[in-house]
């Protein structure tokens, strides 16, 4: 609506408005048989006084907004000012023309018209100023609201990305502690893996999107650590065609899904568990599926999709504005999580 709303633009509009009206008033006064010089002086003084009043109003309303209740004061104020301006104007003209009888007569005769004119002008400019401030307030409010929303969204996204399970970290450290006694070489290797994984988690916070190649590499670091923790019980199979590796997706989105699958799989059965991940491209969407086995008979009843998956779903919603990008279903004794990442 108000595309250009800068102070400069407003000042220009303000100036133009008064110059135009000065010209109009000047033109009208010359009709009454007044010399053009006198008419110009007359019109200029009147309009300058009006302009000064408007500037005063503008500055007052900057700090004080009239409410519905005291609009009456505003009207009263307009009436008094119109009167005041007419008086000052008459006095100034009389002074300038050294009280020449015809000039004073003219001013006196025209004073009712001037008074009404000034009143209307003050009314118009005051109303315009109030509207101007009102719109400006609204706009600033909108901007602040937008900024606050954007900030909240970013904060939430960062938080959702950072949800590193403390269980994972402490159990990994415990594994390292165990290895440090018996197999120091392996302990060192695991510290390396954990560091690489954590570094990846931190670095990726800045980026908006990452490639599937990077994301799978990061996932592999995570899986290597989990394999040390769970030993032979955990097996993984990742299927991703080389042509898909350049596709983009939000960073750190696969790890929580796989973490959920591992937890679900490993905590639901006591046998070895195979976690499968497959990636494909269909209808301009990158589709990643993660499968884990579960025991349909004795599986603990689960509420919803679990905290880890809720965070993923929320992230996808914040990034793409869609709620249908994460789905889960079961096929026999397989629990399958599917995410769709729209590609540009």
């Amino acid at each position: 609506m108000f595309k250009e709303f800068s102070t400069r633009y407003v000042a220009f509009a303000f100036g133009t408005w008064w110059v135009l009206w000065t010209a109009v008033v000047w033109y009208i006064i010359t009709f009454y048989g007044v010399s053009w010089q006198q008419a110009l002086v007359d019109a200029s003084i009147n309009m300058a006084l009006l302009a000064l009043t408007s500037i005063a109003v503008l500055n007052t309303i900057k700090f004080y907004r009239p409410t519905r209740g005291n609009l009456l004061y505003l009207r009263l104020w307009s009436l008094l000012h119109a009167l005041f301006i007419s008086a000052v104007h008459g006095w100034l003209i009389a002074e300038i023309y050294s009280y020449q009888i015809e000039v004073v007569r003219f001013v006196e005769l025209s004073s009712p018209i001037r008074y009404v004119f000034n009143l209307v002008m003050i009314g118009i400019s005051t109303t315009a100023i109030v509207i101007y401030h009102y719109v400006k307030d609204e706009r600033e409010h909108e901007l602040r609201k937008d900024a606050a929303e954007q900030l909240a969204k970013e904060t939430e996204l960062i938080k959702l990305r950072q949800q590193l399970q403390p269980h994972f970290l402490f159990n990994s450290l415990n594994s390292i502690s165990a290895l440090a006694g018996s197999k120091p070489e392996q302990a060192r290797k695991m510290i390396q893996q954990l560091s690489d994984f954590l570094r990846g988690t931190l670095r990726k916070e800045e980026q908006q999107l990452t490639t599937l190649r990077d994301e799978l590499h990061h996932l592999q670091l995570y899986l290597d650590i989990e394999k040390v923790r769970f030993g032979h019980r955990l097996e993984t199979a990742i299927q991703c065609g080389a042509e898909l590796e350049a596709l983009e997706l939000p960073p750190l989105i696969l790890q929580p899904i796989v973490e959920n699958a591992i937890k679900f799989g490993l905590y639901d059965t006591t046998d070895a568990v195979l976690i499968e991940l497959t990636a494909q491209l269909a209808q301009k969407e990158l589709i990643v599926q993660v499968k884990n086995p579960f025991d349909a008979v004795t599986a603990a009843p689960r509420k919803g999709t679990g905290f880890g998956l809720n965070a993923v779903s929320r992230r996808l919603y914040l990034l793409y504005g869609r709620t249908d990008l994460l789905k889960t279903h079961t096929e026999g004794n397989l629990f399958i999580t599917t995410i769709h990442i729209p590609q540009p």
């Binding site: 269980h167 165990a178 006694g181 030993g231 019980r233 490993l266 905590y267 059965t269 006591t270």
Partner: protein, 240 residues
């Protein structure tokens, strides 16, 4: 000889306990177990003096496993991070080891255990607290003969008092659990399960009709008596 059992689903986590135990020549590790089922069997078989128990494990967690034992042994819990469990431990002054733990910290726990051998009672008290603190019970773990069954809570038709036990009725028959009616009344969602009588807690969704003020008919055809207060509670839940 002091017999110890280590129960943890991560092999390396078991190995560090075993390693720390090497300095205690009087203690023998009779078995290491990777999950609660195995652990339960081993405890029944060996009657250990001390059990190192992880809380988060496959199938059934450490607490659920202990619940199934008639006589819970002395336990030192090991856990990575579980605020809920930590609160329960602290409430009963039961020692727990936060992973990763040092040898010094481990020794302290052992010292404490040797001073107060009465820990089995503490374990029982702990389990009651854990149950009471649980926000909502999602499943019931029961033992039938030598096997364990996990019953999702929505599959329970009704609970019936049976001496020192509670009969848990499902469409596949009933299972016994050594608990009180009070225990179930406190831990179940009161909007889903209502204690309609001193001896009965029924699942509201199972009700077919309320015949009179003193009897309710379930979908299974079972007639359950209603007490005066039970009828009142049922009316509140159903909004009639």
């Amino acid at each position: 000889m002091i017999k110890a059992i280590i129960i943890d689903d991560e092999p390396l986590a078991r190995s560090i306990v075993a390693e720390y135990l090497q300095t205690y020549s009087q203690i023998t590790i009779v078995q290491e177990c990777g999950d609660g089922f195995e652990g339960m069997k081993a405890i029944g078989q060996h009657q250990p003096d001390l059990v190192f128990l992880d809380v988060q494990m496959p199938k059934i967690n450490g607490f659920e496993m202990l619940e199934l034992l008639d006589q819970p042994p002395a336990v030192i819990f090991t856990t990575a991070f579980d605020e809920f469990a930590m609160r329960a431990f602290e409430a009963h002054a039961i020692d727990y080891l936060l992973k990763p733990f040092s040898k010094e910290r481990f020794d302290k726990a052992m010292e404490k255990w040797m001073k107060q051998k009465a820990t089995p009672q503490h374990t029982q008290a702990l389990l009651d607290t854990v149950a009471a603190q649980q926000e909502e019970q999602q499943r019931v773990v029961v033992k039938t003969g030598s096997s364990i069954r996990i019953i999702p809570i929505q599959e329970v038709l009704y609970f019936e008092a049976y001496d020192d036990y509670v009969k848990i009725h499902t469409k596949d028959g009933y299972f016994l659990k050594k608990k009180t009616m009070q225990y179930f009344e406190n831990t179940l969602d009161p909007k889903v399960f209502v204690r309609v009588h001193r001896s009965f807690i029924i699942q509201v969704a199972e009700i077919t009709k309320i015949d009179s003020a003193d009897e309710v008919l379930l979908k299974s055809g079972k007639r359950v008596p209603l007490s005066r207060t039970g009828y009142g509670k049922l009316k509140t839940v159903l909004g009639i």
